[in-house]
């Protein structure tokens, strides 16, 4: 009986998601050792030893979870790994600590006031760990049967038979359940749990009674006893929700559906107050635990003076998360005023910040980063080509050099080569201008561009 079922499951084509490669997808952590000293190359991070060590100290502070409302600023030149450090912190914190990442310009929306957007971001970064009772189905798979419609298209239907030592139940499966069952590679003889509310499937292992089905099996195959009693059980699970999620659930009649549609709108302050007092109550009763998370605001100089004064106030709240900001500006105008200030942040806020500085990379570090990116983007490159690319990175910018990796590999593939060579690099270097060469070009040929005939009047018009 088991054999045909197994075949049926394997018939369905495996759906493996291909992850897209992002700018920081190679980062897996801060790369620190136990004494918080930064290893020079580790977990995708290279160089910036001091900044990483400082970030590690902040990380410890977050993990303690006792101190609220601290803020730190990562400042440095463009392309020196500010966002990378923030991403690494998020990775190091794990999935249970809320980490919200926004860009400074994100809060300017017509539908929501700036402070509302900031408040929501703040509340997204505070988790509440709470026990909740959920219904789960736990049993051994007796049979799983998936029927595809004869026409080839349309919804699949299926049946799943589960048993415990005492009983047996047949379930009808919907489309989504079939997909997740095939993704988890569930087959007859497995012991699984299904969370009834979310539909999440967890494989606990294989049943002892099936231990002799195969002669060979993976080392990680775990054998478990068939569960006893009823199939459906109520079980207490601990999970972390953010304050924002609780806000949304309580703010509207349609409840949590708004979370998925994203249309949350403004949330009334009364609702927030109610929830704060409710959470405080849970905390006192020992039902819940607050998990302060991290709010990361990239390009913080894009915030204006109102936001900064709001931040000043919000950081004093005892429910505030740790705020990490990043900027690449030097002394510049504070948005919304005519005053100049370091990093475009008012002095009173700067005074509350711990500032981490990042420094430009040296040649060896650039080479290392390019090597890591080559691996991440699945590009083979000769040593010479890498040296040339490093030189380009030193003279122009690291970002430009990183962008050349993929285009060079495409050029290489066009000439049917297997490894990116110096010639490929040279070719793409001549094809694509970097920022300084582009500026140079503009300076030389400025007159030939549009609207340049009346340069005198244009200049006078520009000032507004």
């Amino acid at each position: 009986m088991a054999a045909p079922t197994v075949e049926k499951v394997q018939e369905v084509r495996e759906v493996t998601r291909i992850e897209r490669i992002g700018a920081h997808s190679h980062i897996r952590g801060l790369g620190l050792d136990d004494a918080l000293d930064a290893r020079n190359v580790s977990q995708g991070m290279v160089g910036q030893v001091d900044a990483r060590r400082a970030a590690g100290v902040i990380l410890e502070m977050i993990k303690e979870g006792k101190i609220a409302g601290r803020a730190c600023l990562i400042a440095g030149h463009p392309g020196t790994g500010k966002t990378a450090i923030a991403m690494a912190m998020a990775q190091a914190l794990g999935t249970d600590t809320p980490f919200t990442s926004i860009a400074g310009s994100e809060i300017f929306s017509l539908e929501m006031s700036k402070t509302e957007a900031l408040t929501q971001a703040f509340r997204k970064s505070i988790g509440v760990r709470i026990k909740e009772e959920t219904e789960i189905i736990e049993g051994e798979v007796v049979e799983i049967q998936i029927d595809r419609p004869a026409t080839g298209t349309g919804a699949k239907v299926g049946k799943l038979t589960l048993k415990t030592t005492e009983m047996e139940t047949i379930y009808d499966l919907g489309q989504k359940m079939i997909e997740s069952l095939t993704k988890e590679k569930v087959q007859a003889g497995d012991i699984i749990t299904i969370d009834k509310a979310t539909g999440k499937i967890t494989k606990l292992g294989r049943s002892f009674t099936r231990a002799r089905d195969y002669d060979a099996m993976g080392a990680q195959t775990k054998f478990v006893q068939c569960p006893e009693g009823e199939l459906q059980k109520r079980k207490e699970v601990v999970h972390t929700v953010t304050l924002h999620e609780i806000d949304v659930i309580n703010s509207r009649t349609q409840g949590f559906l708004a979370l998925f549609s994203g249309d949350t709108g403004e949330i009334k302050s009364e609702v927030r107050e109610q929830i704060n007092s409710k959470v405080a109550e849970w905390r006192e009763e020992g039902k819940a635990e607050i998990v302060p998370g991290v709010l990361f605001v990239d390009e913080v100089h894009m915030l204006d003076i109102e936001c900064f004064s709001f931040l000043n106030r919000a950081l004093e709240d005892d429910m505030a998360p740790i705020l990490i900001m990043a900027t690449n500006r030097g002394i510049t105008r504070i948005r919304g005023t005519n005053y100049q200030s370091p990093h475009g942040i008012p002095i009173d806020l700067l005074d509350r910040l711990l500032i981490i500085a990042t420094t430009p990379y040296d040649e060896k570090e650039i080479k290392q980063i390019l090597k890591i990116r080559c691996e991440e983007e699945d590009v083979e490159m000769t040593d010479d080509a890498l040296t040339v690319l490093t030189k380009i990175g030193m003279e122009t910018s690291l970002r430009y050099a990183i962008q050349l990796i993929t285009v060079a590999s495409l050029v290489c593939r066009k000439r049917k080569g297997s490894e990116v060579d110096v010639d490929d690099i040279k070719r793409v270097y001549s094809l694509f201008l970097d920022e300084s060469r582009s500026t140079q070009f503009l300076k030389e040929y400025q007159e030939e561009f549009m609207f340049n005939e009346m340069s005198g009047t244009a200049q006078s018009m520009e000032t507004s």
Binding site: I130, E132, E133, A155, K159, L160, K163, T164, T165, E166, M167, E168, T169, I170, Y171, D172, L173, G174, Q175, K176, M177, I194, G199, G229, E230, V241, E245, I246, I249, N250, G255, F256, I275, K278
Partner: protein, 231 residues
């Protein structure tokens, strides 16, 4: 325990309407939990009692939990999730005047396969089948609410027409200390006295509302106008 339950019932916000030959009563308790009951108007039998509880985070519950009776609307298989197949046994509580009764339909095994025992310090009933096809552990919320225990000798079972029937004699009348206080004499509401050992003032409260809400005026008017049209 019983006092706690009656005081809870007392303080609940109650609404009552009569519709389609059923007296429907809706309770909202202080913690936001809702309970709805439906009684047959002629016999006074409790047909449905269902609960809707609030989620942990204050969200309103979306589905009703049936304590007595069943949802008569056909279940549609939503294309996403997983639903118990209609070929499984269906477990429904359907009380009579003198006993609690459960019917497990769609279960074809002979009577000797089943065994019903009282377990968990006389709090819970367990149905077992010797062919390992069905197992259920459940309590009688009515007894639990007033703190009464179960006894093995009050249980009787039967099997006919693919249905397994468990009957538990209703001992609340004899065992509960509360019921010694003389319950209200309203005949239609005898179910209240049976099942929940209501104190007299709860009864009078409810009966008052029953008379008040006998039929919502708008429904009455609708019916009138409809009659007029026919004439």
């Amino acid at each position: 325990m019983a006092e706690k339950w009656t005081s809870q019932l007392n303080s609940a916000h109650k609404t009552c309407i009569v519709q389609e030959g059923r007296r429907k009563i809706h309770y909202t308790f202080a913690d936001g939990t809702e309970m709805a009951e439906e009684y047959d108007q002629r016999s006074g039998d409790l047909i449905i009692r269902k609960w809707r509880r609030k989620g942990t985070f204050g969200s309103k519950g979306t589905s009703w939990d049936f304590e007595v009776g069943e949802q008569l609307m056909s279940k549609t298989l939503d294309p996403e999730g997983l639903v118990e197949s209609s070929s499984n046994p269906i477990f429904v509580r359907k009380d009579t005047k003198v006993a609690f009764q459960w019917r497990i339909r769609n279960i074809p095994y002979p009577l000797h396969v089943f065994s019903v025992t009282v377990q968990d310090d006389n709090h819970k009933l367990i149905i077992k089948t010797s062919n390992k096809k069905y197992y259920k552990k459940f309590s009688i919320p009515d007894m639990e609410r007033v703190g009464c225990l179960l006894t093995q000798d009050s249980i009787s079972t039967a099997h006919a027409n693919n249905t397994f029937i468990i009957t538990v004699r209703n001992l609340l009348g004899t065992m509960c200390p509360l019921s010694q206080q003389k319950p209200g004499s309203v005949d239609v509401l005898s179910n209240f006295t049976q099942h929940k050992c209501l104190t007299e003032d709860v009864l009078s409260q409810v009966t008052q509302q029953v008379t008040q809400y006998k039929c919502p005026t708008n429904i009455k008017n609708q019916r009138k106008s409809w009659k007029w049209k026919r004439k």
